[in-house]
Amino acid sequence: MIERIKRLSHIPPMYVTFKHLFKPPITIQYPEVREELPPRYRARHRFVIERCLSCGACARACPNETIRMKLVRVDEKKVKDRVIKKKIQYPEIYYGRCMFCGLCVEACPPKPKALLWSNKEMELAEYTREELFYPYWKLAGLSELPEEDKQ
């Protein structure tokens, strides 16, 4: 009988919502307040030029063929009496196709990795499709193509 009255009166559900009326809102007021994302968060790639081995493991690991290796320059190194030409190639990412699976970062062989995740830049929206294309220097956080690679 008491159960029946409880059901019909709807007092318990009304009490639940009334309780919540006085709780502070849990919304994060986004542009003003930003959530601190966990360190592992896959927001956008970060590329450290000096660590890159130019191996292309990231491009091979990518399921969507988002990453392409861009030939930047050819370094000539003298080993003993021979000149060894070394192709320097860096990854470039088209974010329009990226699905943020993280296989590229996992595949990166050097330790510490040359391609890693940043948990800070989670705002990925751009105005045009072209802006979604990230050359290696943009991934590395540089504002333009470095001097030495301009030829």
């Binding site: 009334f18 502070p24 809102p25």
Partner: protein, 347 residues
């Protein structure tokens, strides 16, 4: 002059001026309340949802309804292909008009009433059921199956809830012996021991339950918002409406809320009387009016808060359960209430 306007009985030579002032005042009162209500409802629902609600336009987002209005008014007016143009276009105005009409016979202070007709309650009941026509017009006119289903539901709903609504008032009418809203409020102006008010909710608790349920159903709010029922019929009868016409429907809906809660206050909560406060200000002329309006509006907002709170809590009922609730529960209860009232009165 002002006394004449306020108290002006029918037949006085300034009847026309009084009528115009009454219409404008009613419109103003209702519109201001609606604008505030849109904000209030969104804010309270948001707090129940542990959100902030509108907080960008103006202080605490108070200007949000105005921003919404501007947005809706500047939108393109679209008429769907194969719609019944006349019906489609007039439905929002009809809804708006019929939502506003009952407000004319509800006073917010002694004598402060648009048209003080002797059959006030009868008039209110008569015109409030007319708003169903607007919904059916919208549902039929927009040539959309969802709209049509929504309209049909409204018709069924209106038919089954109009009866208990009217019957639950009869007890009060029998006690007061008048259909005039002023008289009904005046009958509740006394108090036991000077503090416990003689409101009709204490005389007629059963009628209150019936009346309140029926009013919620008439307003078309959760748990009885079957005419719109978003998750089933997309937006029910106003699926095809946008811009200005949609704004009219929204306005009509909130007007129903204002008028409905004003009616509840008038009938069951003593209108503009509070036991102690009313006595203090009784002979202070215009200050008395202001106090009475304040008391009335405050009571109205308590009812509105409860309605918003219900909306923030409950789920929607089923259409068949809702109809059977109207016919099999509310109607017998209302009849029982009439019998009990009659027996007690005749003793």
């Amino acid at each position: 002059m002002l006394e004449n306007i306020l108290y002006g009985a029918s037949g006085v030579e300034n009847g026309l001026i009084r009528g115009i002032v009454g219409v404008i005042a009613t419109l103003l009162f209702v519109s201001l309340n609606v604008l505030f209500l849109i904000w209030l409802e969104r804010k309270i629902i948001a707090r129940i949802h542990v959100r902030y609600g509108p907080n960008r336009a103006g202080r605490y987002g108070m200007l949000q309804p105005i921003a919404d209005m501007i947005k809706l008014l500047t939108k393109e007016s679209i008429v769907p292909k194969d719609a019944d143009k006349i019906t489609y276009n007039t439905a929002p105005w009809v809804a708006f008009l019929f939502a506003l009409l009952p407000a004319a016979a509800i006073g917010i202070a002694t004598g402060l009433i648009s048209t003080n007709i002797s059959v006030g309650l009868l008039y209110i009941v008569a015109v409030s059921s007319l708003s169903t026509i607007a919904v059916i017009m919208a549902g039929w006119g927009s040539n959309n199956k969802y709209s049509l289903l929504g309209a049909m539901r409204t018709a069924a709903q209106s038919l089954s809830y109009e009866m208990p609504l009217v019957l639950s008032m009869i007890g009060i009418v029998a006690i007061v012996g008048s259909l005039n809203t002023q008289n009904i409020v005046a009958a509740q102006s006394h108090a036991w021991l000077g503090i416990i008010p003689k409101w009709f909710i204490f005389y007629q608790p059963l009628a209150f339950v019936v009346f309140f349920s029926a009013v919620v159903a008439e307003m078309g709010r959760i748990p009885f918002d079957l005419q719109e029922s978003e998750s089933e019929l997309v937006a029910g009868f106003h699926t095809e409406y946008g811009g200005m016409k949609f704004a009219m429907f929204m306005f009509a809906e909130y007007t129903h809320l204002v008028v409905g809660s004003a009616l509840v206050v008038t009938l069951f909560f003593g209108g503009w009387y509070l036991p102690v406060v009313s006595g203090i200000f009784a002979n202070m002329g215009y200050i008395n009016y202001i106090v009475q309006i304040a008391i009335f509006v405050a009571k109205m907002y308590v009812i509105i808060f409860i309605l918003i709170w219900i909306r923030g809590t409950l789920t929607r009922t089923r259409i068949n359960k809702m109809l059977s609730f109207g016919w099999k529960t509310l109607l017998p209860l209302a009849l029982i209430n009439i019998v009990i009232t009659g027996v007690i009165l005749s003793l």
